[in-house]
């Protein structure tokens, strides 16, 4: 495998769920890649399919009712073709995941040490004693005081921030190459959020893992990511470097997201442009196929073309992909 091949390459991912009222197309033809050591943010509002994309990568979607199609190449191997035992060997070892809810994502009846140690016992064949030692090391690494005592404690004895640190310790225990973080800071206090982000950035450089960061917080994106994938209604609508996305958003939805983010120094009472803008309208139902552009119903610049024809995703500026009929093409683009 050449060194330039991406660590993770998602091609035309489709995750559908069969329900009583029909098929819900949670993810519809999403493609993007993540290089080794890179942090890619996946942003979008609730229900846009970002978490489902993450869960599809680790095949955590129950099938049925779920159905995953497309290709998920991890170091050249299509994860969707692996057997369940082969997948188990990858989960928590090569690819691990941090979840949104630290309060409910840890098992309440097993000690913290047991939960961290289990990963290394499974993947590295460590004895229970060595696993506990590793757990203590990991707790030290994520900055939990008195790790030798904490390792014997249960999740309910820890605060939310501490629990998320434990989740991170658990995810990093086997030094994964890819860390999928599904809104890791959403459930935390703002001060704790900053600490957790700082910790993730610090550990990323130490472990050398690539991060797929799922969030709806653009502040987090700016702080953590190198590249951004914007998702809307199960589709990728824009992709580019952080600078490109923030300074030159081309898709009307991305512009809307930027406009709905409060900026430091602006006041809600000021008149004119510094007011928070909202994106009008509703996300389309994912139960029926969407004809035309998924964003057409809410787009300020919508035309008849948008309503009838889905825009292809095109490179409108170097390494800046957009799915919009009217996104201006930069002169330098191929």
């Amino acid at each position: 495998m050449s060194s330039s091949a991406p660590l993770l390459d998602i091609q035309n991912l489709q995750t559908h769920f069969g329900t009583i009222d029909g098929v819900v197309r949670a993810v519809e033809g999403v493609s993007f890649s993540i290089n080794a050591g890179e942090t890619v943010a996946v942003v979008g509002e609730s229900g846009c399919g970002k978490s489902v994309t993450a869960m599809s990568i680790l095949r955590l979607i129950a099938t049925p009712p779920g159905k995953i199609a497309g290709k998920i190449l991890f170091k050249g191997t299509n994860l969707l073709e692996l057997s369940e035992p082969e997948m188990q060997a990858i989960r928590g070892n090569d690819i691990s995941m941090i979840f949104q809810e630290p309060m409910t994502s840890l098992n309440p009846v097993l000690t913290v040490g047991r939960q961290i140690g289990e990963t290394v016992m499974l993947h590295e064949g460590l004895s229970a004693k060595d696993a506990e030692q590793r757990a203590i090391e990991m707790l030290t690494l994520v900055g939990i005081p008195a790790p030798a005592r904490r390792v014997r404690e249960y999740p309910h004895q820890l605060s939310g921030g501490m629990r998320q640190r434990v989740m991170i310790a658990m995810a990093l225990a086997c030094s994964p190459q890819l860390l999928v973080a599904d809104e890791p800071t959403t459930a935390l206090d703002v001060t704790i959020q900053a600490q957790i982000l700082e910790l993730m950035r610090d550990l990323k450089t130490r472990v050398g893992a690539a991060i797929m960061l799922i969030t709806h917080d653009l502040g987090v994106v700016a702080e953590m990511a190198q590249r951004v994938v914007v998702m809307y209604a199960g589709r990728k609508v824009e992709e580019g470097s952080v600078e490109e996305i923030f300074l030159n958003p081309l898709h009307p939805y991305t512009r809307g997201l930027m406009g709905s983010m409060p900026k430091l120094g602006s006041s809600l009472h000021e008149t004119g442009r510094s007011k928070l803008t909202e994106i009008q309208g509703q996300v389309p139902s994912l139960r029926k196929p969407i004809i035309g552009c998924a964003f057409a119903g809410r787009c300020p610049n919508v035309t008849d073309v948008c309503r009838q024809m889905a825009p292809a995703i095109e490179e409108k500026a170097p390494k800046h992909l957009v799915a919009c009929h009217y996104a201006p093409r930069a002169a330098a683009a191929a």
Binding site: L60, M97, T104, S105, V109, Y154
Partner: protein, 313 residues
């Protein structure tokens, strides 16, 4: 923890006191006059009166209750009206078969019901799940004696795999003990299995939807460990609660089962005593069963802390 245990043991005293009062009142509530029965059909009213006085039945309720309670506390459950043997002695003779039956039933029921419930929850909606639920409905709705007779007919009379009835003490070898108790334990256990399997399935269904189960899967934990370690330990509290409550049904069922399979246990003793209106024996057995039930539920309460670290006393 120790302080809690002591507190809980002390708290059983008033419970047992109320049970004792109720058990003693049986004499007054139940129809039939033991003095008249003992005196026989030919007795004059004077004879009946004399026997009543000799039994102490003519004195006030509260006096007799306190006297009785005082004797019970010293381990004296009185003397059987019919055999003239001490009740405590009669119960002691019959304890082994009954406790053997319960122990075997409990072991058998738990080792069947829990895997059944877990698998049904894991495969919910499939034919495995439906089969388990069908069994649960059947096991619960078919009475113990019907199951007992069907089992005895099929596996003892027709196939000759097990003895039809009777009991072999444990001191005569474990083989005979198990062989004699297998059919009774299966018969008595069927309703218990149904109850526990149902609760296990319902609780596991809830637990398997929890975020931490997804976390375990994301770590690469195998399906079996997810079910029996990560999920089952979280489902343990409702399951052991229902085991404790269901124990009452087990006691009632044991009485019937002992009659069906002619096991010389406490259940048979109490059935015979009821037919003869042998009140001291009835009182002794009911008191013993109540005490067992209270103890079992005390153990259940203490087990909560073993399975769920969030519960602390």
């Amino acid at each position: 923890m120790f302080a809690y245990t002591v507190r809980r043991v002390i708290a059983t005293i008033p419970v047992m006191g109320i049970v004792a009062l109720f058990v003693f009142s049986l004499l007054y509530i139940a129809p039939g006059d033991p003095a008249a029965i003992i005196a026989g059909d030919q007795a004059t009213p004077e004879d009946v009166e004399r026997i009543r006085a000799s039994l102490g039945l003519d004195r006030p309720f509260i006096v007799r209750f306190l006297e009785w309670l005082f004797r019970v506390l010293q381990g004296d459950l009185g003397v059987s009206i019919f055999t003239n043997l001490p009740v405590s002695h009669m119960i002691k003779q019959r304890l082994e078969p009954t406790f053997s039956l319960m122990l075997l039933t409990l072991t058998f029921a738990l080792s069947c019901a829990i895997p059944m419930g877990v698998v049904a929850a894991w495969k919910h909606g499939t034919w495995i799940d439906r089969f388990v639920m069908l069994f649960a409905v059947l096991g619960f709705s078919v009475p113990v004696f019907v199951v007992g007779y069907v089992l005895a007919y099929t596996f003892a009379l027709q196939l000759d795999w097990f003895p039809v009835q009777g009991y072999t003490p444990l001191s005569n070898g474990i083989g005979g003990w198990v062989s004699n108790l297998t059919l009774p334990a299966v018969a008595l256990g069927s309703a218990f299995i149904a109850l526990i399997a149902r609760i296990t399935r319902a609780t596991m269904l809830e637990v398997l939807n929890q975020d931490y189960v997804r976390t375990a899967k994301a770590k690469g934990v195998g399906q079996r460990a997810i079910l029996f370690v990560h999920a089952l330990k979280n489902a343990a509290v409702p399951i052991i609660t229902i085991v404790g409550i269901g124990f009452a049904g087990l006691i009632g069922g044991a009485v019937v089962t002992e009659s069906v399979f002619a096991i010389p246990g406490v259940g048979r003793l109490v059935v015979d005593a009821i037919l003869r209106r042998d009140y001291p024996v009835i009182q002794g057995v009911v008191l013993m069963f109540s005490f067992t039930y209270v103890i079992v539920n005390l153990i259940v309460d203490l087990l909560y802390t073993v399975f769920d670290p969030r519960i602390r006393y």
